[in-house]
């Protein structure tokens, strides 16, 4: 019930955003649920980047593969966060592709850590599908891709929500 009413409220706003913004202004990607996504991605950026920075600078030789993967994850998260904040259609597409990469990364690395634990003496952000981060790494790209896809539908049919 609450969900239905929120969609009703969001409808006209989104229509206004898409209408005049089309062509000239960048479309905002961080209205509504997008804001929550930015927050969670921001947290992951801080988590992954600071973690890998500490580990690479102090004990890189212990698990070079794991720490490098954490650093790459941090960079991908950073790019997605920036794209979401920047807005616009190019940024939306770029963020969508990066979310796909992120999902592939989390699935591949997650499987890798389970199949061959010896390659990972220490954990990465993506170990065990991101279990150490409450599975946020695997849930976030799915949610983000859904959200960014919804942006496509809204642009093609701006009146569909209203």
């Amino acid at each position: 019930m609450a969900v239905a009413s929120s969609e009703k409220n969001a409808g006209p706003d989104d229509g206004q955003d898409a209408g005049p913004g089309k062509g000239t202004d960048r479309r905002r990607l961080i209205s509504g649920p997008g804001m929550l996504l930015v927050w969670l991605y921001g947290v992951m950026v801080v988590g992954a980047v600071s973690r890998s920075a500490v580990q690479i600078s102090t004990e890189f030789d212990k698990a070079p593969l794991a720490y490098s993967l954490s650093a790459i994850a941090g960079i991908v998260y950073g790019f997605i966060t920036y794209s979401l904040v920047r807005g616009g259609d190019t940024a939306r597409r770029a963020a969508f592709v990066c979310c796909g990469l992120e999902l592939a990364g989390v699935l591949i690395v997650g499987t890798w850590t389970l199949v061959e634990p010896s390659a990972f003496p220490d954990a990465t952000v993506w170990s065990d599908y991101g279990m150490g981060y409450l599975f946020i790494p695997v849930l976030l790209p799915l949610t983000a891709m859904y959200w960014l896809r919804k942006g496509v539908l809204r642009q093609q049919q701006p009146d569909v929500a209203a």
Binding site: A2, S5, S6, S31, G32, G34, M35, G42, L134
Partner: protein
């Protein structure tokens, strides 16, 4: 002292998360009272940051290293203000959900802080 602060801050963060989650469930944005709540939690985190640094200055060592301890202290302090500013920019229920998520993140950070300090 630090353990008590960690516990209190973690519980306050969870309470804030529940409160803002309740506001979101009623389709409300964050209001003045919520911001006062955020301020209280932020002050707790700031006190924790100061006490943590004082403990370090006295020569006490965290179990898992000073760098990680300080990084988590700073992260814990920045968490709620960041979420609060984002909820100012998003005056819908999604702003409330963002702050609620911030409360949960802070609670997780407090659990990690407890482990890192070795309480």
């Amino acid at each position: 002292m630090l353990d008590v602060l960690t516990l209190v801050t973690g519980l306050a963060a969870l309470a804030l998360a529940a409160w803002c989650g309740f506001a979101a469930s009623r389709d409300q944005p964050t209001k003045d009272w919520h911001f006062i709540g955020m301020a209280v939690v932020s002050v707790l985190a700031l006190v924790q940051l100061v006490v943590g640094i004082v403990q370090l200055a006295r020569g006490e060592e965290p179990d898992q290293g000073t760098t990680i301890f300080v990084a988590y202290l700073i992260g814990a302090f920045a968490c709620i203000p960041a979420a609060g500013f984002m909820s100012l920019a998003e005056r819908t229920r999604w702003g409330s959900i963002t702050v609620a998520a911030g409360g949960v993140v802070l609670a997780v950070l407090e659990v990690r802080l407890y482990d890192i300090w070795g309480g």
